[in-house]
């Protein structure tokens, strides 16, 4: 294809679109109330949807899987455990973080040690501070946050005139805690409201461990004596609902699922309906992984949420972030927050060498707290996030 053609094409569209941006702004300011109803009136016909969206929509209108586009998703990781016929009673959530602390500490001690060695050096000169900053950067904390932490620490060390390793360590701990926001509410709202179950949606990009987190979360809740209904709204990836089914059957949680290619919103709706009918305490909806750059898929996610809201309010939207994710994690969080109003983050795969520093940035920029951490492959390796334990584990 001719580049001239392509470029000019995009220019023309852009020219009108940039104007269109203005068009909408005015309209919004003139008639702010009308916004919600607009899409129905002016809503673009289907062919206007971006291509990648269309593929999925095709599936959504009920093409048999064989005709569905040969596309599939990356696989979330999952724990290894033989499927057992009888129901398991997973341990309750309390004390999990502590139990897993050792594991966390083991994999991350080098980071904390390195920092402390640096901090206890005889002279804290320019190079040392830079090295401290670098150490923080290697934890994916990001340049801005790292610089800020170091700046603060530097000032405080100067003001207090401390040279003592213990004190510096305490300062560093405090600084890290401050970045993580130790006073934010980190409870996952799983309490049913009267006759209505709590609804939790699990979202995220491909391969971060959404299905696994859904399964683990169900186990935690069942362990705490709740009844859980799972909704397999990942109708896109091959065998995703089977994967969730395996999780559900282990703890005896019913899984609402449909054929591959079904409309995820309808699955989610049915799951909530089933939860209400059964008088379950919590409904957890697992959605398909989607890259935040794909507008069509993000719209679909928005739709899932809107449709669920027709039945019941959504109490939690948990964004699953992979601890190995770098600076892209921030962009992911931002887009997901825009589309579905993320209320919490589940940080997974923290048992590797990664430090998950990206959560510091996410929390700082978006104020979304980390609520859960996935610390391993075991089915019970999901714990509520406790910043103090986390920071202590990091510092070794």
């Amino acid at each position: 294809m001719d580049i001239t053609l392509l470029v000019s094409l995009i220019v023309v569209v852009a020219l009108l679109a940039v104007g269109g941006f203005f068009l909408v702004r005015t309209r919004r300011s003139v008639t702010p109330g009308k916004e919600e109803t607009k899409p129905e009136v002016t809503g673009a016909p289907k062919e206007a949807a971006p291509e990648e969206d269309r593929e999925r929509e095709e599936g959504a209108v009920g093409t048999p899987p064989a005709h569905a586009p040969p596309a599939e998703d990356t696989a979330p990781p999952a724990p290894a455990e033989p499927a057992e016929p009888e129901l398991e009673t997973p341990p309750p959530s309390a004390g999990r973080m502590v139990r897993l602390r050792a594991r966390l500490a083991r994999s991350q001690s080098s980071f904390g040690q390195g920092l402390l060695t640096l901090l206890s050096a005889k002279t804290l000169d320019e190079d040392t501070w830079e090295e401290i900053e670098d150490t923080l950067i290697t934890a994916d904390i990001g340049v801005t946050s790292a610089t800020q932490i170091v700046e603060n620490l530097r000032t405080r060390v100067k003001v207090l005139g401390t040279r003592d390793t213990e004190e510096v360590r305490a300062l560093l701990r405090e600084e890290l805690l401050k970045q993580l926001g130790s006073d934010t509410d980190r409870t996952v709202r799983t309490e049913p409201h009267g006759d209505r179950p709590a609804v939790i949606m699990i979202v995220g990009v491909n391969g971060t461990g959404k299905t696994t987190t859904t399964g683990k979360l169900a186990r935690v809740l069942v362990g705490d004596g709740r009844t859980v209904v799972l909704g397999a709204a990942d109708t896109f990836r091959a065998a995703a609902s089977e994967q969730l089914q395996t999780w559900g059957s282990r703890v005896g949680a019913p899984v609402v699922r449909k054929d591959e290619g079904a409309d995820p919103a309808s699955v989610a709706f049915d799951a909530v309906a089933r939860g209400i009918e059964d008088g379950a305490d919590t409904v957890i909806i697992d959605t398909a992984g989607r890259l935040h750059t794909k507008t069509g898929l993000m719209d679909e996610l928005g739709k899932v949420k809107r449709v669920v809201e027709k039945k019941s309010q959504v109490d939690e939207v948990l964004l699953v972030l992979d601890a190995t994710t770098g600076q892209n994690g921030l962009r992911q969080a931002r887009v997901f927050a825009e589309v579905v109003n993320v209320t919490g983050i589940a940080l997974t795969k923290l048992d590797g060498t990664a430090k998950g520093g990206i959560i510091v940035q996410v929390q700082r920029e978006l104020g979304v707290p980390v609520k859960l951490v996935g610390l391993g492959e075991g089915p019970d390796d999901l714990a509520p996030f406790d910043p103090e334990v986390f920071v202590d584990a990091i510092l070794g």
């Binding site: 941006f21 091959a238 892209n328 060498t353």
Partner: protein, 534 residues
């Protein structure tokens, strides 16, 4: 928010223009900016350090070229170094002398191994190979089922003797699969292993056992483009644990800058062989180092854009569009509608603009573009009669009201659209007259100095427009025009030396006079095209 490297460097150099040689201070000032840019692209710190020192060394000795301003020059050096590290020799799959060729996939959980296995199988079968997929991921619940589904879609048989979910011995499965492949005349065996962490010695041992059992010809390390600083540790752990011959980078269709590619290549010396860029099985190709370099630096990626267009559009559409563009008839709203729906197939308009070089400074505007606006525009146009679409001049007040009512918008919206459309029409007319023949007076870019003034004047105009907050519409228009002007300049490039591939900025004759924000990103692109050919 996320400035591009070229924007940053431009600001660093704003006070330094016109120097004969890059001074030590210039280099240091840029080094920090490059460091930040690389770190934000998730390039691992040790790699960044080494890289910076190399850049410094090279920049120090460099003559300042008359054709480039300092910022462009530094970017050019950075880009060349990046391509060099990422590129090296292009690797092909090594096929075994005695089939089957065994390819083993290893990587972290969620990196995309199972998906990649299917893509690889499909890619290989296109070359008349007969691959066999082997389900050796017996850990994750239903990974085997997933591979079976993937295999079905790729039209490749799957060897899965064990049900998975923790049952069965992957080493045994892998071993048997070779025999199975021999019996059934498969010339390639692709073994999908379970995801594992670098620190998990037990699992690493299992991977090593699989390796020893099947003696693979290629071990591919599958890694997610979104991975952060941890890439180095993981890459090293896998290298020590199983060893690998090449790397496959997945999820490149996101907006992760993929600095990990650079880190892994630099640290382990293993080439990056494949890039996976989407959810469909076809979204898979050999890795292009030059594009990755631009991506890490967050520069435009026109090549990818074109390729995407080629994949998405079918020939008829393109031809039809080309003829509309070339015909003497005026550009109508129908044409526009059709073009818009085509362009939208490529993805969100903001992303597309982002892929164009030189758009860094427009980032705010680009971010502001919402694809829903396009829906509205479409609604407005579709509320017009065919006659109105063909001849928008006939749209008078009462028609406007009708259209606004029909599309659920305000009359002012319709007004705005029509006005903007006339602008676009004017532009198209200009393009038609100037676009076909290079060097027409209407087109900027041929002569050097003249052109600079023009663009500068335009930039000024746009700035004024920005300040004039009372009339934001005009400002937007001007911005859009400026954008269009840029684009038109770029189009010109290939026309100067007509046989050149889409080398933006083509002959470089126009380069020296470009404002840095614009010329900067172009320049490396130019070198991109040349380098691999050497």
């Amino acid at each position: 928010m996320f400035e591009t490297l070229s924007d940053r460097l431009t600001s660093v150099f704003s006070s330094l223009r016109g120097k004969g040689r890059l001074s030590e201070e210039d280099i240091n000032a840029t080094a920090r900016e490059i460091r930040l840019a690389l770190l934000e692209a998730d390039v691992a710190l040790p790699v960044v350090r080494e890289f910076i020192s190399r850049i410094k060394e090279r920049a120090r000795g460099e003559e300042v070229s008359k054709a480039l301003n300092p910022a462009q020059q530094v970017i050019k050096i950075v880009n060349e170094e990046l391509v060099q590290i990422l590129g090296g020799e292009t690797r092909q799959v090594r096929f075994a002398k005695n089939p089957p060729t065994v390819i083993m996939l290893a990587g972290l959980q969620g990196a995309g191994k199972t998906t990649l296995a299917g893509k690889l199988a499909k890619w290989l079968s296109a070359d008349r190979n007969t691959p066999l997929l082997v389900a050796a991921d017996l850990q994750r619940p239903n990974a085997v089922t997933q591979l079976q589904v993937v295999g079905e879609r790729a039209g490749t048989p799957v060897f899965a003797p064990e049900p998975g979910n923790g049952v069965g011995d992957p080493v045994e499965v892998a071993r048997e699969s070779i025999e199975h492949a021999r019996r059934n005349n498969h010339n390639v065996v692709i073994i999908d292993t379970a995801g594992r962490l670098g620190v998990d010695t037990e699992m690493m041992q299992q991977a090593a056992d699989i390796r020893d059992a099947v003696d693979p010809d290629e071990i591919l390390f599958v890694v997610d483009a979104m991975i952060g600083q941890d890439a180095v540790n993981t890459a090293q752990a896998f290298l020590d644990g199983v060893g690998y011959d090449a790397v496959a980078l997945t999820k490149l269709d996101g907006d992760a800058r993929g600095g990990a590619a650079l880190s892994i290549r630099h640290l382990t010396g293993r080439p990056i062989m494949f890039a996976s860029t989407g959810e469909k099985l076809e979204d898979f190709d050999l890795f292009h180092p030059d594009r990755m370099a631009s991506r890490i630096l967050d520069m435009g990626d026109v090549l990818t854009l074109i390729e995407q267009a080629q994949r998405t559009f079918d020939e008829d559409e393109v031809e039809k569009m080309a003829s509309t563009m070339a015909s003497d008839d005026d550009f109508t709203l129908d044409d526009f509608l059709q073009q818009m729906s085509m362009v939208r197939k490529l993805g969100p308009i903001g992303n597309l603009l982002g892929m164009m070089p030189g758009m860094g400074q427009m980032r705010d505007q680009i971010d502001g573009i919402d694809d829903k606006d396009l829906d509205r525009i479409q609604a407005v146009i579709q509320s017009m009669t065919p006659a109105e679409r063909a001849n928008p001049k006939m749209i008078n007040g009462s028609r406007r009201l009708r259209i606004a009512n029909g599309s659920g918008t305000q009359v002012s919206d319709v007004n705005g659209l029509v006005t903007r459309f006339f602008e676009a029409q004017k532009m198209m007319r200009k393009m038609k007259s100037g676009g076909g023949m290079p060097g027409m007076p209407g087109m900027p870019g041929m002569g050097g100095g003249n052109n600079k003034k023009k663009i500068k004047a335009q930039a000024k105009k746009a700035k004024k427009g920005k300040q004039r907050s009372g009339n934001p519409m005009k400002a937007r228009q001007q911005e859009a025009e400026r954008e269009a002007e840029r684009k038109r300049r770029q189009e010109e490039g290939p026309q100067q030396p007509p046989q050149l591939p889409p080398g933006l900025g083509g002959g470089g004759g126009g380069q020296p006079t470009l404002p840095p924000g614009f010329g900067g990103p172009n320049m490396p692109d130019l070198s991109n095209f040349k380098l691999p050919k050497k």
